[in-house]
Symmetry: C2
Subunit: 142 residues, 2 copies
Protein backbone atom coordinates (compact mmCIF):
# COMPACT_ATOMS: atom_id res chain seq x y z
CA UNK A 1 0.00 0.00 0.00
CA UNK A 2 1.70 3.17 -1.19
CA UNK A 3 1.65 6.43 0.78
CA UNK A 4 -0.21 8.21 -1.99
CA UNK A 5 -3.10 5.72 -1.88
CA UNK A 6 -4.34 7.33 1.34
CA UNK A 7 -4.61 10.78 -0.23
CA UNK A 8 -7.75 12.12 -1.89
CA UNK A 9 -5.61 14.70 -3.65
CA UNK A 10 -3.47 12.04 -5.27
CA UNK A 11 -6.41 9.98 -6.48
CA UNK A 12 -7.83 13.15 -8.04
CA UNK A 13 -4.52 14.10 -9.60
CA UNK A 14 -4.16 10.60 -10.95
CA UNK A 15 -7.72 10.32 -12.25
CA UNK A 16 -7.49 13.69 -13.98
CA UNK A 17 -4.29 12.67 -15.74
CA UNK A 18 -5.75 9.30 -16.77
CA UNK A 19 -8.70 11.19 -18.23
CA UNK A 20 -6.62 13.56 -20.33
CA UNK A 21 -4.57 10.55 -21.44
CA UNK A 22 -7.75 8.85 -22.64
CA UNK A 23 -8.76 12.02 -24.50
CA UNK A 24 -5.31 12.26 -26.03
CA UNK A 25 -5.71 8.80 -27.54
CA UNK A 26 -9.21 9.45 -28.92
CA UNK A 27 -8.50 12.99 -30.14
CA UNK A 28 -5.18 12.14 -31.75
CA UNK A 29 -6.67 11.91 -35.30
CA UNK A 30 -7.58 15.63 -35.14
CA UNK A 31 -4.51 16.80 -33.22
CA UNK A 32 -6.71 18.17 -30.44
CA UNK A 33 -5.85 18.36 -26.75
CA UNK A 34 -8.40 17.97 -23.99
CA UNK A 35 -8.69 21.71 -23.19
CA UNK A 36 -9.02 22.45 -26.91
CA UNK A 37 -11.81 19.87 -27.08
CA UNK A 38 -13.57 21.63 -24.20
CA UNK A 39 -13.48 24.96 -26.06
CA UNK A 40 -14.96 23.33 -29.16
CA UNK A 41 -17.61 21.56 -27.04
CA UNK A 42 -18.70 24.90 -25.60
CA UNK A 43 -18.82 26.48 -29.05
CA UNK A 44 -20.84 23.56 -30.46
CA UNK A 45 -23.37 23.70 -27.65
CA UNK A 46 -23.62 27.40 -26.90
CA UNK A 47 -22.47 29.14 -30.06
CA UNK A 48 -20.09 32.08 -30.37
CA UNK A 49 -18.20 33.02 -27.22
CA UNK A 50 -15.73 35.60 -26.01
CA UNK A 51 -12.38 34.81 -24.40
CA UNK A 52 -13.98 35.96 -21.16
CA UNK A 53 -17.03 33.72 -21.38
CA UNK A 54 -14.81 30.74 -22.21
CA UNK A 55 -12.75 31.65 -19.17
CA UNK A 56 -15.85 31.70 -16.98
CA UNK A 57 -16.99 28.32 -18.28
CA UNK A 58 -13.60 26.64 -17.97
CA UNK A 59 -12.29 28.62 -15.00
CA UNK A 60 -9.20 29.64 -16.92
CA UNK A 61 -7.63 33.06 -17.37
CA UNK A 62 -6.52 34.75 -20.58
CA UNK A 63 -2.95 33.65 -19.96
CA UNK A 64 -4.04 30.09 -20.70
CA UNK A 65 -6.85 30.75 -23.16
CA UNK A 66 -5.15 33.26 -25.45
CA UNK A 67 -2.48 30.90 -26.77
CA UNK A 68 -4.88 27.93 -26.68
CA UNK A 69 -7.44 29.70 -28.88
CA UNK A 70 -4.66 30.94 -31.14
CA UNK A 71 -3.64 27.33 -31.76
CA UNK A 72 -7.25 26.39 -32.51
CA UNK A 73 -7.34 29.27 -35.00
CA UNK A 74 -4.07 28.17 -36.61
CA UNK A 75 -5.54 24.68 -36.95
CA UNK A 76 -8.47 26.25 -38.81
CA UNK A 77 -11.22 25.28 -36.35
CA UNK A 78 -12.15 28.72 -35.00
CA UNK A 79 -11.88 32.42 -35.93
CA UNK A 80 -11.15 35.29 -33.59
CA UNK A 81 -12.41 38.82 -34.13
CA UNK A 82 -12.46 42.03 -32.13
CA UNK A 83 -16.00 43.01 -31.22
CA UNK A 84 -17.06 46.19 -33.01
CA UNK A 85 -19.23 47.24 -30.07
CA UNK A 86 -16.35 46.95 -27.60
CA UNK A 87 -12.87 46.80 -29.06
CA UNK A 88 -11.49 45.17 -25.91
CA UNK A 89 -13.58 42.03 -26.44
CA UNK A 90 -12.46 39.18 -28.68
CA UNK A 91 -15.17 36.88 -30.01
CA UNK A 92 -14.43 33.26 -30.88
CA UNK A 93 -16.56 31.47 -33.43
CA UNK A 94 -16.43 28.18 -35.30
CA UNK A 95 -15.26 27.93 -38.90
CA UNK A 96 -17.04 25.55 -41.28
CA UNK A 97 -14.27 23.06 -40.58
CA UNK A 98 -14.78 23.46 -36.84
CA UNK A 99 -18.53 23.05 -37.23
CA UNK A 100 -18.06 19.94 -39.35
CA UNK A 101 -16.04 18.22 -36.60
CA UNK A 102 -19.07 18.16 -34.34
CA UNK A 103 -20.66 14.95 -35.61
CA UNK A 104 -17.52 12.88 -35.26
CA UNK A 105 -15.77 14.53 -32.32
CA UNK A 106 -18.47 15.76 -29.94
CA UNK A 107 -19.43 12.24 -28.76
CA UNK A 108 -15.89 11.60 -27.47
CA UNK A 109 -16.73 12.66 -23.91
CA UNK A 110 -19.51 10.07 -23.78
CA UNK A 111 -17.10 7.39 -24.98
CA UNK A 112 -14.62 8.39 -22.28
CA UNK A 113 -17.35 8.22 -19.63
CA UNK A 114 -18.18 4.71 -20.83
CA UNK A 115 -14.52 3.63 -20.70
CA UNK A 116 -14.38 5.00 -17.16
CA UNK A 117 -17.38 2.89 -16.16
CA UNK A 118 -19.55 5.99 -15.79
CA UNK A 119 -22.27 5.13 -18.27
CA UNK A 120 -24.92 4.98 -15.54
CA UNK A 121 -26.57 8.42 -15.27
CA UNK A 122 -27.26 8.32 -11.54
CA UNK A 123 -23.82 7.13 -10.59
CA UNK A 124 -22.23 9.73 -12.86
CA UNK A 125 -24.31 12.58 -11.52
CA UNK A 126 -23.53 11.55 -7.95
CA UNK A 127 -19.79 11.64 -8.66
CA UNK A 128 -20.06 14.96 -10.51
CA UNK A 129 -22.00 16.49 -7.61
CA UNK A 130 -19.47 15.23 -5.07
CA UNK A 131 -16.54 16.62 -7.07
CA UNK A 132 -18.27 19.96 -7.61
CA UNK A 133 -18.91 20.27 -3.88
CA UNK A 134 -15.28 19.44 -3.12
CA UNK A 135 -14.11 22.01 -5.69
CA UNK A 136 -16.42 24.69 -4.30
CA UNK A 137 -15.18 24.10 -0.75
CA UNK A 138 -11.54 24.36 -1.78
CA UNK A 139 -12.22 27.52 -3.76
CA UNK A 140 -14.08 29.20 -0.91
CA UNK A 141 -11.35 28.24 1.54
CA UNK A 142 -9.11 31.09 0.42
Amino acid sequence: MAVTDEMVCFSLYSAARATTQAYRALLEPWGLTYPQYLVLAILWMEGEQTIGSLGDAMQLDSGTLSPLVRRLEQAGYVVRARSSADERVVTVGLTDTGMALRTEVAPVHTRIAALAGMQDDDQRHRLIAELQQLTARLQHAH
Copy 2:
Protein backbone atom coordinates in the same frame (compact mmCIF):
# COMPACT_ATOMS: atom_id res chain seq x y z
CA MET B 1 -26.40 25.04 -16.41
CA ALA B 2 -23.16 25.04 -18.35
CA VAL B 3 -22.26 22.35 -20.86
CA THR B 4 -19.26 21.29 -18.84
CA ASP B 5 -21.38 20.56 -15.76
CA GLU B 6 -22.63 17.37 -17.40
CA MET B 7 -19.13 15.99 -17.89
CA VAL B 8 -17.35 13.78 -15.36
CA CYS B 9 -14.08 14.66 -17.05
CA PHE B 10 -14.60 18.36 -16.44
CA SER B 11 -15.51 17.96 -12.79
CA LEU B 12 -12.33 15.90 -12.36
CA TYR B 13 -10.21 18.41 -14.24
CA SER B 14 -11.70 21.20 -12.17
CA ALA B 15 -11.35 19.42 -8.82
CA ALA B 16 -7.73 18.51 -9.53
CA ARG B 17 -6.90 22.13 -10.33
CA ALA B 18 -8.70 23.39 -7.23
CA THR B 19 -6.64 20.91 -5.21
CA THR B 20 -3.28 22.02 -6.56
CA GLN B 21 -4.41 25.63 -6.02
CA ALA B 22 -5.12 24.86 -2.37
CA TYR B 23 -1.68 23.23 -2.06
CA ARG B 24 -0.07 26.23 -3.74
CA ALA B 25 -1.49 28.52 -1.06
CA LEU B 26 -0.44 26.32 1.87
CA LEU B 27 3.00 25.42 0.46
CA GLU B 28 3.88 28.95 -0.58
CA PRO B 29 6.05 29.61 2.53
CA TRP B 30 8.45 26.84 1.41
CA GLY B 31 8.26 27.51 -2.33
CA LEU B 32 7.04 23.96 -2.95
CA THR B 33 4.69 22.81 -5.69
CA TYR B 34 2.20 19.98 -5.25
CA PRO B 35 4.26 17.38 -7.18
CA GLN B 36 7.33 18.41 -5.20
CA TYR B 37 5.35 17.93 -1.99
CA LEU B 38 4.40 14.43 -3.16
CA VAL B 39 8.05 13.51 -3.67
CA LEU B 40 8.92 14.75 -0.19
CA ALA B 41 5.91 12.90 1.29
CA ILE B 42 7.14 9.64 -0.25
CA LEU B 43 10.66 10.24 1.05
CA TRP B 44 9.37 11.04 4.56
CA MET B 45 7.24 7.91 4.69
CA GLU B 46 9.29 5.38 2.79
CA GLY B 47 12.85 6.65 2.96
CA GLU B 48 15.38 6.85 0.15
CA GLN B 49 14.03 6.26 -3.34
CA THR B 50 15.27 6.05 -6.90
CA ILE B 51 13.93 8.13 -9.78
CA GLY B 52 12.31 4.92 -10.99
CA SER B 53 10.56 4.10 -7.71
CA LEU B 54 9.27 7.68 -7.47
CA GLY B 55 8.00 7.26 -11.01
CA ASP B 56 6.18 4.06 -10.06
CA ALA B 57 4.58 5.69 -7.04
CA MET B 58 3.52 8.87 -8.82
CA GLN B 59 2.98 7.40 -12.28
CA LEU B 60 5.38 9.87 -13.84
CA ASP B 61 8.27 9.30 -16.21
CA SER B 62 11.83 10.58 -15.94
CA GLY B 63 10.99 13.42 -18.32
CA THR B 64 8.89 14.96 -15.55
CA LEU B 65 10.79 13.70 -12.51
CA SER B 66 14.35 14.54 -13.56
CA PRO B 67 13.89 18.32 -13.64
CA LEU B 68 11.49 18.23 -10.67
CA VAL B 69 14.00 16.42 -8.45
CA ARG B 70 16.75 18.71 -9.71
CA ARG B 71 14.74 21.70 -8.46
CA LEU B 72 14.23 20.00 -5.09
CA GLU B 73 18.00 19.46 -4.93
CA GLN B 74 18.69 23.10 -5.84
CA ALA B 75 16.30 24.13 -3.05
CA GLY B 76 18.43 22.02 -0.67
CA TYR B 77 15.72 19.52 0.32
CA VAL B 78 17.12 16.38 -1.33
CA VAL B 79 20.38 14.94 -2.65
CA ARG B 80 20.85 12.83 -5.75
CA ALA B 81 23.57 10.24 -6.14
CA ARG B 82 24.42 7.54 -8.65
CA SER B 83 24.08 4.09 -7.13
CA SER B 84 27.45 2.37 -6.81
CA ALA B 85 25.87 -1.04 -7.38
CA ASP B 86 24.26 0.05 -10.65
CA GLU B 87 25.56 3.23 -12.20
CA ARG B 88 22.35 3.71 -14.20
CA VAL B 89 20.30 4.22 -11.05
CA VAL B 90 20.01 7.59 -9.30
CA THR B 91 19.03 7.54 -5.64
CA VAL B 92 17.17 10.43 -4.05
CA GLY B 93 17.49 11.05 -0.33
CA LEU B 94 16.48 13.79 2.10
CA THR B 95 18.96 16.35 3.38
CA ASP B 96 18.75 17.44 7.02
CA THR B 97 16.81 20.47 5.82
CA GLY B 98 14.41 18.24 3.91
CA MET B 99 14.01 15.97 6.93
CA ALA B 100 13.34 18.96 9.17
CA LEU B 101 10.42 20.09 7.01
CA ARG B 102 8.47 16.99 7.89
CA THR B 103 6.92 18.21 11.14
CA GLU B 104 5.54 21.38 9.67
CA VAL B 105 4.84 20.42 6.08
CA ALA B 106 3.76 16.76 6.10
CA PRO B 107 0.34 17.50 7.69
CA VAL B 108 -0.64 19.76 4.77
CA HIS B 109 -2.46 16.98 2.92
CA THR B 110 -4.68 16.40 5.96
CA ARG B 111 -5.48 20.09 6.15
CA ILE B 112 -6.41 20.10 2.46
CA ALA B 113 -8.67 17.09 2.96
CA ALA B 114 -10.39 18.96 5.79
CA LEU B 115 -10.86 22.08 3.63
CA ALA B 116 -12.36 19.85 0.95
CA GLY B 117 -14.85 18.44 3.44
CA MET B 118 -13.15 15.04 3.37
CA GLN B 119 -12.32 14.69 7.05
CA ASP B 120 -14.62 11.70 7.44
CA ASP B 121 -12.57 8.52 6.91
CA ASP B 122 -15.32 6.40 5.39
CA GLN B 123 -16.45 9.07 2.96
CA ARG B 124 -12.86 9.79 1.95
CA HIS B 125 -12.02 6.13 1.40
CA ARG B 126 -15.15 5.67 -0.68
CA LEU B 127 -14.20 8.57 -2.95
CA ILE B 128 -10.59 7.39 -3.22
CA ALA B 129 -11.76 3.88 -4.15
CA GLU B 130 -14.16 5.23 -6.77
CA LEU B 131 -11.47 7.41 -8.34
CA GLN B 132 -8.93 4.60 -8.31
CA GLN B 133 -11.38 2.31 -10.08
CA LEU B 134 -12.11 4.99 -12.67
CA THR B 135 -8.38 5.54 -13.20
CA ALA B 136 -7.70 1.83 -13.56
CA ARG B 137 -10.48 1.44 -16.13
CA LEU B 138 -9.18 4.31 -18.24
CA GLN B 139 -5.63 2.99 -18.07
CA HIS B 140 -6.64 -0.52 -19.10
CA ALA B 141 -8.74 0.84 -21.96
CA HIS B 142 -5.68 1.34 -24.17
